[in-house]
């Protein structure tokens, strides 16, 4: 969905098409990775403030699932949502400007990193209350069903949300009312600093969703191809009236929870083990092995991505901040009287 994605080869046969498609997935993951890496630098330079939650390590989840959705589908995400926003096609310029707290940001600089909204892309946040987005997604799916609109609402949340009462209320309601919703549980094994097994007695999260009579299964969230296939299968089932589906996407964040987190609760060895399964490294190796990717291809990707990020930074730097006179604008809608 990125406006800058390159279609190198005109797909003529399925193998060529498949190779091109896998390269696109790689490029999109790389784009998110490099964006997040620059965000770290910009945070250190105090260009980005507040909370910043990085998606590094989890890129396959957003890229794979967003590929399975149509532009008419809706997305509700969490506070770790830069990856979802980019994969969805939210412009990098408006995303960066948002983090720069500029009026050209997608939320006019009022939301920041955790509250990315873009109604044109049907991207409904950016919710910083764990579990808080689930009821919204259920409601959007209910509205679509009542209005007879064939649309999937994809709702992202983490393993931490599964411990919230709101999660269980929403699983029950979505299943009870047979709503067109795709629950995407990003199990990165930690709710901030608390490991899943230290917080929840049943760590098989797909099984817990299954107890609500929902089709659910676990997916290797470090494998973008596997994620996309699973998401496509689940989204299509939802779309044809199959009711809510649940994917447990098993992944890992390579960086700390936020920029404030000293990351004292994990073994370095554990992090290194997961890095061996880095979705970008893995797919790069596979593509090269299959003869579908050259070093030149990668250089082109990096160059294009670097340019895109530089443009986003430059435009964000140059953009205006919202005048303080507008502070109380949008507390209420303009009244039509």
């Amino acid at each position: 969905m990125s406006g800058t994605r390159q279609h190198r080869a005109k797909p003529q046969d399925p193998a060529v098409a498949e190779a091109a498609h896998r390269r696109e997935l790689l490029r999109e993951m790389l784009r998110i990775r490099r964006f997040e890496e620059r965000c770290v630098e910009l945070y250190s330079a105090a260009k980005i403030r507040g909370f910043l939650h990085l998606y590094i390590g989890e890129e396959a989840v957003a890229v794979g699932t967003c590929r399975a959705l149509t532009p008419d589908d809706s997305i509700v995400a969490t506070y770790r949502e830069h990856g979802h926003a980019l994969a969805r096609g939210v412009g990098m310029d408006s995303l960066m400007a948002e983090m720069y707290a500029k009026v050209t940001g997608c939320s006019r600089g009022r939301g920041g990193s955790m509250h990315i909204f873009d109604t044109e892309r049907r991207f409904y946040g950016g919710n910083a209350i764990v579990g808080g987005g689930l009821p919204l997604a259920v409601g959007m799916a209910l509205a679509d069903k009542m209005r007879g609109i064939d649309r999937v609402t994809a709702c992202f949340f983490g393993d931490g949300a599964v411990a919230e009462g709101e999660f269980h209320e929403c699983m029950n309601l979505a299943a009870l009312w047979d709503l067109p919703i795709l629950f995407c549980c990003e199990n990165n094994r930690y709710a901030m600093g608390t490991a899943l097994e230290r917080a929840q007695v049943e760590t098989d999260l797909a099984a817990r969703a299954g107890s609500y009579h929902m089709v659910s299964w676990a997916v290797d969230g470090m494998d973008v191809i596997a994620v996309e296939q699973a998401a496509r299968r689940a989204a299509e089932a939802v779309r044809v009236g199959g009711g809510p589906h649940f994917l447990e996407l098993r992944t890992y964040r390579f960086r700390a929870h936020s920029m404030y987190d000293p990351d004292r609760y994990r073994d370095k060895a554990e992090i290194e083990r997961w890095k061996e399964r880095d979705p970008i490294v893995t797919l790069t190796a596979q593509l090269k092995q299959d003869g579908d990717l050259t070093d030149h291809d990668l250089e082109v990707f990096e160059k294009e991505i670097t340019a895109e990020i530089a443009h986003a930074i430059d435009t964000a730097d140059a953009a205006d901040t919202e005048p303080v006179e507008d502070l109380t604008k949008f507390v209420y809608s303009p009244r039509q009287t």
Partner: protein, 353 residues
């Protein structure tokens, strides 16, 4: 507000008996209806006029509503639009927010304000913030109705008046219909509002009855109303304490004190102009609020009066609030905890001096 609204409330007693209204209906052709019936008529009208409207909440369908407000609607409009929900306040209130974002006009019923605390996250962190936080992209045209207030011996988890808490939150509009006309007319206006509106219905009002014109319709949800004009003291109240305040005004009239009764109607945003105009006429103010005193709506109204009309006052602002205790079950304790006509009248006499 029309004239009948301004006068009808003066005749209601605390119990909402209809002794006087019968005369009114003979005079005007208006049929006496209960607050509950008026609210139900408003819901029916909304369901008929706008196919985006649906209602959801606990026991609103088969059961007919815990206060029977929605009785019969399931049979008339079917289970798609009259949705019984599981006991999951956070989920179904949040579902209302999501459905509102996606083009519907949901009306969510919460049994009592005490239960609404289970949905406070959704109301506060999503409904109230979404428009501002998204830079104006997402408004939430949601109506939430809930019962509030004490007086039925249902003790400390079903009796509180927390509307003042909600009135603290920017992004919400808070209304409290206290009359039959407002029960009939506020809902439609609330549904036209692009932003979330919370309607607080005091449980003791449901059986109140009064005349209602057959062509009664939408009313504004912006302004306070003078329910009884007077010159000596302003009694400022809303919701369930309006009948008690009017009873106190009757009592004061017998002593030769002409009390003006102001019904706030909308608790957020407050209609400062009507409040201040009344205080400038009478030079004395008593605020009657079934919420607790500390950090309350009554404190807010009092502060606005002293900030903006201090030099018009001839006496300190008085407040009559609920005693700062969890509402007890025992009838004599509950009665003692709540504002009553006698305590309101006593505060007014003190202000008048």
């Amino acid at each position: 507000m029309n004239a009948s609204t301004a006068t009808s409330g003066t005749r209601k007693t605390v119990q909402g008996t209809r002794s006087h209204q019968a005369h009114d209906s003979a005079d005007t052709g208006a049929k006496p209806v209960s607050y509950r019936e008026a609210m139900r008529a408003a819901l029916r009208e909304a369901l008929i006029k706008d196919d985006r409207v649906f209602i959801m909440g606990e026991d609103i369908g088969r059961y007919g509503g815990c206060y029977a407000v929605t009785l019969g609607l399931l049979e008339e409009f079917g289970p798609e639009r009259i949705r019984d929900t599981p006991l999951s306040e956070s989920a179904f209130v949040g579902t209302g927010i999501g459905a509102a974002l996606a083009g519907m006009r949901p009306i969510v019923e919460i049994m009592t304000v005490n239960f609404s605390l289970l949905a406070l996250d959704q109301i506060m962190n999503n409904a109230a913030t979404m428009l501002h936080m998204s830079g104006g992209q997402l408004n939430v045209p949601l109506v939430i109705r809930m019962t509030t207030g004490a007086g039925r011996q249902v003790a400390a988890q079903h009796s509180h008046s927390l509307e003042g808490w909600y009135a603290h939150i920017p992004g919400l509009r808070i209304v409290a219909p206290a009359t039959i006309e407002d029960a009939r007319g506020m809902l439609w206006t609330a549904l036209q509002d692009p932003d979330p509106v919370l309607i607080f219905e005091h449980a003791l009002l449901y059986n109140a009855s009064g005349p209602l014109s057959p062509d009664a319709g939408p009313v504004d949800i912006d302004t306070a109303a003078i329910r009884r004009p007077g010159t000596d003291v302003s009694l400022i109240t809303y919701g369930g304490t309006l009948p008690k305040t009017l009873a106190a005004a009757d009592e004061l009239a017998a002593d030769g004190i002409a009390a003006e009764v102001v019904d706030l109607r909308t608790l957020r945003p407050l209609d400062d102009a009507t409040i201040l105009a009344s205080v400038r006429r009478t030079h004395r103010a008593v605020i009657v609020d079934e919420g607790w005193r500390s950090g309350s709506l009554s404190a807010e109204v009092s502060a606005r009066i002293t900030e903006q009309a201090f030099y018009d006052l001839d006496a300190p602002v008085e407040r009559v609030c609920t005693a700062e205790v969890p509402i007890p079950y025992a009838w004599q304790l509950e009665e003692a905890a709540l504002p009553q006509p006698a305590t309101i009248a006593a505060a007014a006499r003190k202000a008048v001096g």
